[in-house]
């Protein structure tokens, strides 16, 4: 039974929960798989630690918590420090490379891929879509979900009028991720 454990971590106000929710929706609603989402945030809405636990599986999920993540999606250094030691030995870390320095703490056989998602989001017009760039990066770098399914999940999740910019952000991250994992 294929079960993938994902932890999305960062700070409140970065859209961590939305990023996790999009991954879960893409899996459960638009890919016919099973997904579970658990969210955790600090006492303040903005700036405090925030994380989402997402499970994607081919069968019903009996235990919805992440024990040893296969994939980490990290948008803050604190999240890296907290979650990197939990990663499976052959796990994958996807990180925002202007916010996270992935030094130490990672298993020796783990892979780490960075993306300047904040800069990409700002270049697209809104720093706010940083989390959508990361969702696209996740899609392109992991191959766990199809870009069509994630695109539908984004369209289903974001406010009316913002769809176009959010889709551009998704594709920016997706293409960057695809290019990083493409065979050379």
């Amino acid at each position: 039974m294929a079960r993938t454990e994902i932890r999305v971590g960062g700070l409140g106000g970065q859209g961590i929960i939305l990023c996790g929710s999009i991954i879960g929706k893409a899996a459960a609603i638009y890919s016919g798989r099973h997904a579970a989402l658990i969210q955790a945030f600090g006492p303040e809405a903005r700036g405090s630690a925030c994380s989402a636990q997402v499970i994607v599986a081919d069968e019903a999920i009996g235990y919805p918590y992440v024990r040893r993540p296969d994939i980490l999606v990290l948008l803050s250094q604190d999240a890296f420090v907290q979650f990197a030691p939990q990663l499976k030995p052959d796990g994958l870390v996807l990180y925002e490379n202007e916010l996270v320095q992935p030094e130490g703490k990672l298993p020796a056989t783990a892979r780490a891929l960075g993306i300047p998602a904040t800069r990409f989001a700002e270049e697209l017009g809104r720093r706010l879509v940083l989390n959508i760039v990361m969702a696209g990066f996740f899609t392109g770098a992991t191959n766990l979900l199809s870009i069509d399914a994630v695109e539908k999940a984004v369209l289903d999740s974001v406010p009316r009028g913002t769809e176009s910019l959010n889709l551009k952000a998704l594709m920016k991250g997706y293409e960057y991720g695809r290019a990083l994992v493409a065979p050379t």
Partner: protein, 199 residues
Amino acid sequence: MERDGFPHVAKLKDGSSVEISLASAADGPALLDFYRSLSDEDRLVLKDDVTTPGWLARFLAKLEAGAATSLVARADGRICGEATLHRNLHGWSRHVGEIRLSVASDRRGKGLGYALAAGVVKLAIDLGLEKMVAYFVESQSAARKTFERLGFRKEAELARQVADIRGAKRNLLIYANDVSHIWTAMEALVEDYRPHEGQ
């Protein structure tokens, strides 16, 4: 190459069609021809002297820098309308875009102005802008109506600000469309604090 939904063909009220596309440097000579074909009276309400190569060079430089995004409408091999979103890439009004619109006299009253303006409004939202403004002379009632249909409302009026072709002074109307609520909803979505969920 298609980008941002352009080029696309727009059907006008009289049954004719125009192709609306994103302007590029290759459109420069045709743009100059278009603006030179406008009457003196039409050109008077434009902010710049759009008939000179100097204007074209500055305009193309703004396109290249991203400080302007322009749509051109073509029919019968010539440009018959143009709409541009001008924006400041730096400074205190970088969230604001200014829309300018020109339509050939023989294409007016057919919905071309609306098609162009609607396209530019969408581009502005896609760029993350929060507010758009457009300037009108009080006599431009058809143009104002077009922008009102797109959500613009009069925000200010400057008395005797414009001198028309006969030297008569007219009021300048500043219309604005605040679309910040769209991004307010997105901001709320990324707050990462959903105490109501799971209850």
